[in-house]
Symmetry: C2
Subunit: 345 residues, 2 copies
């Protein structure tokens, strides 16, 4: 049985159904790692990266735990001289690719997944996200910062050593603008913030809930585009990640780390992406928006139908995914770093 | 140097710039083929598929050249009983996944790419596309048919034997509705069909043109999402592929085959997708729309930034891609099937 399911946050339909899951697969992809030696993100090789923008000290003398550096191969650049000029031809419009592209190196040790960080390292990673949002907002020249993470070849990582990235942009990108508009309209129509209503209903039904913590709820969304997709949403209506209180950052870090551990225990050492959506840098009151994280393993391919139509086909219903992920949770107090080693070398 | 480039057909921005192309890649993916034996699409194994919906005879006695069969693992199904019921909860809306999912088996021989078809086989494949559009339009229960092709593991193929697919749908999907709206608005504003204006300007500039034929133009679009992306557009304003004259089908087939050959000679035996967009099945006059084909090798990964923002980063500017693809064209009269064998077994 399949059905179209509507994703109200993104205003899109997804085909959810498991009968295609049984089809034969003639292809299997294997990842071969060609190590870059020395790894530019390991302790001792700091000269391989541009100078750090922020350093979070570690336990050892003179050691660091998290380093934020400019991306050596940036997609966008702060200097207008490094960019193309604006072009106003009605068919070939262009704009300078202004922006800032940074890398958050998550540990001095050569590990491959966020699940292998110590709890303290992981808290510092999420502190760095929040601090960079604050610094880049204060800089005054950007309207939005996109934070994201690619782990493994299937998720588009090019370097194994665990890291996240951010792009500071002079505009609000398409998907974020769409989410904001869909949330604004929902408040107008229903008198409630969309992600407040959604989490309440998910908590009442329970079947798609994966985990909860005092300030956060994690669930597999109704119209998941990808198998085992998880959204992490704050219980309070909190539009910006830049203003999450220091005392709550460790809770976010621990929950995301636990959920990645669940994915890796349920599915093995798979590639995954996550993205952090937060409000734009302006003075509007986004009292209809929640910052949130979307996390998804990359275990299926996006193919011609998705590229043609914008409609995703998901062969793992989120109710089944949530149940498998709940089953993969560790008992409270268990060491979360005891996940399979995902290194491919 | 990078720049944002605007894609007027899809109303989206792309970051185009080559400096990220130099970054190190620690991961290499290798494809292992686990052959399904016997191959359900090879001659002699017709009983492995559901009964054919259409058969195009081949040269040999009793032989076929192209077979159209129902997909054995459909994403959508014609019978309401096979589908979920509609759900109208404001957060969890759903609709039955009504539709029809078909496979076009392109040859009785076990080949892996459209470039390996004989010219006659390839013409029959495109005839089948046109005929199925006509049949499914006449059936009266669908509003749109999406034809697409996945070749290789990276492009989401699950079976090696060369085939295309189509989904007949009861609605016009997101991306097609967006294209129609963007073309409608362009005609209103500029007094000309967008894909007429675009091909004229591309022909005048020349730098992104890859190939031409009497009724068709092929170019790498200004704001290509993917490296080496090619659009194939009819010179005349022709909104439906269902009404392409029989005498022109062979020309479409030959051009697409030549372009896939160019991609394979320029890049090696890579995976690729193509999609055919054509007008919906209704009585509106789509005098602002052109049917067209979008063809792209899948040589890069879609990663966290693209999933977060909807903004693609393309490290091969289309001007460079078009030049490489032109260089990879064969002299007129050369046998187009002489491409590298892409089988992985």
């Amino acid at each position: 049985m399949s059905e179209y399911r509507y994703d109200r946050l993104h205003n899109r339909w997804v085909i959810v159904g498991s009968q295609r899951a049984g089809r034969p697969h003639e292809f299997e992809e294997q990842v071969v790692r060609r190590s870059v030696d020395p790894c530019p993100f390991c302790a001792g090789n700091e000269h391989q990266t541009p100078d750090a923008l922020a350093i979070y000290p570690g336990a050892a003398d003179n050691g660091w735990s998290v380093r934020v550096v400019p991306n050596k191969y940036p997609a966008v650049e702060p200097s207008p001289a490094a960019n193309g000029a604006a072009g106003n031809h009605e068919l070939f419009a262009s704009r300078p690719a202004l922006g800032q592209h940074e890398v958050i190196i998550e540990s001095p040790r050569h590990i491959a997944s966020l699940s292998e960080l110590t709890p303290d390292e992981c808290t510092l990673v999420f502190s760095a996200y929040r601090d960079r949002l604050q610094v880049l907002q204060a800089a005054g020249q950007f309207r939005y910062v996109q934070i994201f993470k690619n782990v493994g070849a299937a998720a588009g990582a090019s370097i194994e050593h665990s890291h996240s990235q951010l792009l500071a942009l002079p505009h609000v990108p398409l998907h974020v603008a769409d989410e904001l508009e869909n949330c604004r309209r929902y408040l107008q129509q229903q008198g409630q913030a969309l992600l407040s209503a959604l989490q309440q209903e998910e908590l009442a039904r329970g079947e798609r809930i994966v985990a909860e913590s005092p300030h956060l709820v994690a669930f597999c969304p109704w119209a998941s585009r990808f198998p085992y997709e998880i959204w992490i949403v704050p219980r309070q209506q909190q539009p910006s990640f830049a203003t999450v209180p220091s005392g709550e950052i460790g809770e976010v870090a621990a929950l995301v780390q636990e959920l990645i551990g669940c994915i890796e225990r349920a599915l093995g050492p798979v590639g995954y992406n996550f993205l952090l959506h937060s409000q734009p840098f302006d003075t509007s009151r986004y009292d209809y928006y929640h910052w949130h994280i979307e996390l998804f393993p990359r275990i299926t391919k996006v193919a011609g139908f998705e590229w043609s139509t914008g409609v995703f086909i998901n062969t793992t219903p989120p109710e089944i995914a949530a149940e498998e992920l709940r089953t993969a949770r560790l008992p409270a107090g268990k060491n979360l770093t005891a996940v399979p080693n995902r290194k491919t070398s």
